[in-house]
Amino acid sequence: MQDEKIKNDVKGIFFEVFPKLSENEFAWGKEQKDYENWDSFAQLNIITFAESKFDVSFSLDESIEIKSANDLLECINSHLK
């Protein structure tokens, strides 16, 4: 249940940061290069939202490595466990 909530929250972050993203276009494995607007500022926004939502703080290396919703989910889980 908890995992499901985290997943929903991570997905929610992507819909917040990419407001034009439709449900069909979202995929956990979809990579940064496949998003139209995932530039460096969007990356910063994703990190900021995730840090605020889950009350965690990502290192610089972690921030760079996040290239998909899956990466973000894994990174958050590693902090919460």
Binding site: E16, S40, F41, N45, S52
Partner: protein, 478 residues
């Protein structure tokens, strides 16, 4: 015409009129002129140095010493009584006064400071050495020297000439309609150019200048309006905002004689303008934009058009203002001022002089003009946050976040970031009992700001550091 000529005119035209009141004492124009002449003839002021230091307090003695030094042909180096020892040493190292003059109380306070062998005399000691003057010395072109604190560098000396004072004061009188019939209540420190400008204005028209010693005692300010039958009030926005906490009807009664309230441009909140307009009804509420280096560059008289409530108005007659864009994409830019109100150079400071080119003063203030040439201020150039080449004005972020009802106050500023150079952090004071979450603030920002303007850090705080004028002390934020 210099300020001493104007005092002399008043003494001739209205010898018995009370020209100056400081709560405890009052003095006629004629007596003030005689005191000034006696002061300026003191042996202790006769020496080769151009400047005399004056620790300027809000009192008739302070005014007399200020005018007395000018009348002696010297330049007044104005020293705030609350100056730190470090700034005091820096300033006197730069201004090189022959003597420093102050009240008896301050003589004790300042004797503990390292004053570099410059003697400190009281007003009384100066007067006790007065002589019969055989030749009246010529008035120096520079009236006073005042130091502004740079955010990063040493204090900069700003020499203000009589020509600048005359130009500025004429504009003030013309635009705000001062006359000899006015009684000008001034709860402002004289060691700032706003307070001094008010003194010059009163002397210029021959009105009565009422100086309050305690500039923060709100009840005293309100009672003084009635006690002295004041017709004008000059106060900083923070004072006006605090005064508005009193009951509306009470304020209307206290302000019943007032024809003009003048304030300066330091972050006057929109609500303060609106509430004051209600209190004053059809009487004038005005503000101006200026720097010590370029006094009263614009004037704004607020009217029914609330769209202009946050403007500082149009350039004063004879003053030119241009905006130099800081970014091609932004309509705003840095404000430059040119006119007779602008200094020609700083005091012995070639680095600071780089801010002056062909008579244009680079102000470091950021703003824009609307289509009718009304100037709006949005911040300081130093405050601009450069995020990977994108420039962001903190006030834009603050305005958006303030729209969230549960937020009491907010400040945005830059923090170091390895990728972008800087990103935005916001410190927020939440309203009492609010459970507002950071994520909600971010969502609101994302809906209302471009993505490079979204804060990367949010901190809930109890206090936002501000100076006595309500300006946020951004340099100490982390």
């Amino acid at each position: 015409m210099n300020i001493i000529d104007l005092l002399r005119n008043n003494a001739e035209k209205y010898p018995a009129k009370i020209g100056f009141i400081d709560e405890e004492n009052e003095i006629t124009f004629q007596k003030m002129l005689k005191s000034v002449e006696k002061f300026s003839s003191s042996e202790l002021l006769k020496n080769k140095n151009q400047t005399i230091g004056l620790i300027l307090e809000n009192s008739i003695e302070g005014i007399m010493a200020y005018l007395g030094i000018i009348n002696s042909g010297k330049i007044v180096h104005i020293i705030p009584p609350n100056i730190t020892e470090k700034n005091f040493i820096n300033q006197i190292k730069s201004s090189k006064p022959s003597v420093i003059i102050c009240s008896e109380k301050n003589q004790t306070n300042f004797s503990n400071f390292n004053h570099k062998d410059v003697p400190i005399y009281t007003n009384e000691e100066i007067i006790s050495k007065s002589t019969i003057q055989e030749k009246i010395p010529d008035i120096n072109k520079i009236a006073y020297l005042i130091y502004t604190s740079g955010t990063t560098s040493e204090p900069k000396g700003v020499p203000i000439s009589h020509e600048m004072i005359e130009f500025t004061t004429k504009n003030i009188v013309k635009i705000l309609g001062y006359s000899k019939n006015d009684i000008d209540l001034t709860p402002l420190p004289l060691y700032h150019s706003f307070g001094l400008g008010c003194l010059h204005t009163s002397i210029y028209v021959g009105s009565t200048f009422v100086l309050l010693k305690n500039t923060n005692n709100l009840e005293n300010i309100l009672n003084s309006l009635k006690k002295f039958n004041a017709t004008t009030l000059a106060a900083v926005p923070a004072t006006l905002t605090k005064l508005l906490r009193f009951e509306n009807q009470y304020l209307k009664e206290k302000f019943s004689n007032i024809r003009l309230v003048i304030t300066n441009s330091t972050s006057i909140p929109k609500n303060t303008v609106n509430d004051l307009k209600t209190i004053l009804e059809n009487r004038k509420l005005a503000t101006y934009y200026g720097l010590t280096e370029a006094s009263r560059s614009t004037f704004m008289i607020f009217n029914e058009n609330s769209k202009l409530d946050e403007s500082v108005g149009k350039p004063a007659p004879g003053v030119k203002i241009k905006i130099k864009k800081i970014d091609k994409k932004l309509e705003i830019g840095e404000i430059f001022v040119q006119g007779k109100n602008v200094i020609k150079n700083y005091w012995d400071n070639s680095i600071a002089d780089k801010n002056l080119e062909d008579g244009w003063l680079q102000t470091s203030d950021i703003g824009y003009f609307d289509n009718d040439e009304n100037l709006f201020l949005v911040g300081r150039n130093d405050d601009v946050i450069n995020i990977g080449g994108e420039k962001v004005i903190p006030s834009e972020i603050e305005e958006i976040i303030k729209q969230i009802p549960e937020i009491e106050d907010v400040v945005a500023f830059g923090i170091d970031n390895k990728f972008f150079g800087k990103t935005i952090k916001v410190n927020i004071i939440k309203k009492k009992n609010s459970n507002l979450e950071k994520i909600k603030i971010l969502s609101y920002c994302l809906k209302n700001l471009e993505k490079f303007k979204i804060p990367s850090k949010i901190e809930f705080v109890d206090k936002i550091p501000k100076n006595e004028y309500g300006k946020v002390k951004r340099s100490i934020l982390k």
